[in-house]
Amino acid sequence: MDIEYIFAQLFNGLMLGSFYILLSLGLSIVFGMLGVVNFAHGAIYMLGAYAAYTICQVFAQSFWLALILSPIIVGIIGMVLEATLIRRLYAFAHFYNLLLTFGVMLCIEEVVSIIYTPIGKPFGTPGTFVGSLDLGFIIFPRYRIFIILITMICSIGMWLFLAKTKLGAIIRAGTDDSEMVSALGIDISRIFTLVFGMGAALAGLAGVLAAPVQNIFPYMGGSILVETFVVVIIGGMGSIVGSILGGLIIGELITLGVIFWPPVANTLIFIFMALILLLRPRGFFGRAKFFE
C-alpha cells in the first residue's frame, strides 16, 4: 500500500471530519448552553444546502454569495425557531424539547419536499474549485481542500469568539449558571436566541459546503445527524475543542476503516463511542455535570 494513497485517504478523513466539526459545534454549544438536544439540526443542515441551491438559481450560480448568505438565512430561521417554539419548553425536562425538535425536523423535511419535490436537486462543484491541486505529496481535489480550510477558519473563529470576547464570556458563564448570569443584569433570553441562531448558521454552512460533494435532497440530514451525535458524545457535550477533536477522530476512523477493515467501517465509530462511554462517560472535554 503506497504512502500517497494513505495520505489521500487521511485527507478524505479530514474533509469528512470537517463536516462533523461544523455540525457538532452547533449541536454542542446549543446543548451546553440551552440544554436542548436539537434533533432538528440535521434538517437545518439540509436547509443550508437548499438555501444555497436557491441562491445559486436566483443569482446566476454565485457560489460565494450562497456561501455567505445561506448561513445567515438559516441562522435567522434558527433564531425564529428558538424565539417562537423552543424557548417555551426550557422550564421542562430535556425530552420535551427533544420531542419538539424532532417534530420540527419532520416539518422542515416535509415542507422542503413539498416545495422542491423529494427528488433532490443537482449541485455542481463551483467553477473556481473544479479540478485538483498538487500538494507535492498528494493530488487532492481543490474543493475538498477549500472545505478543510473553511472549517479551520470557522473553528478558530468560534474559539476566539467564545474565549476572548465579552459576549463569549457571557455565553460561557451562561452555560454554567444561566440564573446567575441573568441576576447580573444580562438579558439571557436574547443570548439564548443568539446561540441557537449561531448553531443553526454553522449547520447551514455545513449544508452549503456539502451541497457540491453529495447531492441535496430533503432527507440528507438524517444519517449525518447520527454521526454528529457520536462526535458530540466523544468530544464532550458543550465543548468546542471536544467537537473539533471528536470530528477529526470520527472522520479518520470512518475513512481508515474503509481501507483496513471495510466490513466494520461503519460500526467502528459506534464501538469507539461505546468505549468512551464506558471509560469516560463525559467525553474528552465534557464537564462532569452532564453524565457523571
Binding site: Y5, A8, Q9, N12, M15, L16, S113, T117, P118, I119, G120, K121, P122, F123, G124, T125, S132, P141, Y143, R144, A210, V213, Q214, N215, F217, P218, Y219, M220, G222, S223, I224, I254, T255, V258, I259, P262, P263, A265, N266
Partner: protein, 392 residues
Amino acid sequence: MKKVFLLFVISLLVISPVAMAKEPVKVGLISVLSGPLAVIGKGEEYGGRMAVEDYGEVLGQKVELIIKDHAYNPGLANERAKELYEKDKVDVITACPNSAAALAVSDQALRHKRLFISTSAGTCDLIAKNRYTIKWNYNDYMLATTVGRWGARHLGKRWYTITADYAWGHDLLKYFTAALKEEGGVHVGNDMVALGTADFSPYILKAKKAEPDVLVLLNVGKDAANSTKAAVEYGLKEKVKIVHALLFEVDIKGAGIETFTGDYVAASWNWQVDTPGARDFADRFYKKFGERPHFMAAAVYSSVWQYLEAVKRAKSKDPEAVKKALKGHTFRDFFANPGYVRAEDLLQVGKAYLLRVKKPGEVKEKEAFFEIVGTLPPEKAHPPVGFFGRKF
C-alpha cells in the same frame, strides 16, 4: 293490484341483469405513493390507470382498479395485500416495489389462491416462489447478467465493483461476477458499502488504485448519485467507464445529467425503444401526467393488459384458467416484443437493453436521457429454468 304487479315485473326487469351479472374483474395495485420514493410509485399508479382505461371491458364489464399505498414498508404491504384479497376481493395484485414487500404479498397470494404479478421488485426469490406468483419485467439476475455479459464484450476486461451492503447488492454481485467470468472478464476488486453513505471518496480512491477499465456501481438512488459524483470529482470517470445496476430518470433529474453522462445501465424497457407502440404510449403518458413513463410504469401497464387478455382468452377469471392462458403464450405489446411467461416457473421474459446516458447537449426532448446501445436476447439475459432450484 294490477298496478303493483306491473311495478313488480318492471322492477324485476330492471334489476335482474345487474343481479345476474358476474362480479367485474378487479385488479389491485400496491405501490409506494408516499415518502421520497413516491416519485417512482406514482408512475406505476399511472401505468395501471392507463391500462385499465385503455383496455375497456372484459367479460362484458368494466375492469375495476383498486390502488393502495404501502409506503415502501413490507409490513404495510402485507396488510394491504390481505385487504385487497379479502375485503376488496381483487382477482390479481400487481406492481409492489421493495423485495421484502413483494415476498410478503406473494405469501398472501398463495394463502388466498389468487394471482400476484410482481413487476417492480428485483429479487430472484420471487421466481417460482409459489404457484400464484408471476414474475414480470426485470429481476436482479437479468440486470447483473446483462451488464456483465454485454459489458465484458464491449467495455473492457478489468472490472471493479462497489456494492450496496444488503441482500439486494449481494445478489447482484453474485450474478454479475458469474456473468463476467463466463465472458472472460476479470474482477479486480469489490467494496461493500453501507446504505446511505454520504462520502464515497475513500471507495473511489481504492477503486482508482486497482486500475480497472470499468467501474460497476451496484447501488441505487442517492447512493448511485453520490458514488458517481465522487468518481467525477476524483477524475476516475475520465479513465473508466461506469456501469449502474439501476438508474431512473428521476435520479438523473436529481443529480444533473452531466454527472451521469456516458454511464451504462441495464433495463427491461425504455420509452425510446423501437418496439411498436412504445413511443405512442410514452407520448400519451406524458400528455396525461407530465412526465415520461419509466420501465416500472410500462411493466405495470403491460402486466395488467396481458392479465386481462388472458382472462379474455380463458373466458374466466379463475386463477388456474388465467394461468393456463398465460403460460407459454407469446405476446407482443409495446413493453415486450415478443415476451412470454415460462410455464416452468411463471417468469415473464423478454429482451434486455443496455442504455447509455447522453451528453447534456444531446437531450433534444424532455427526459430523453438515454440512448440504446445494445440488447441481449431473452434466453441470455434471464436465468435458465430451475437456476434457483425451483420449478413446477
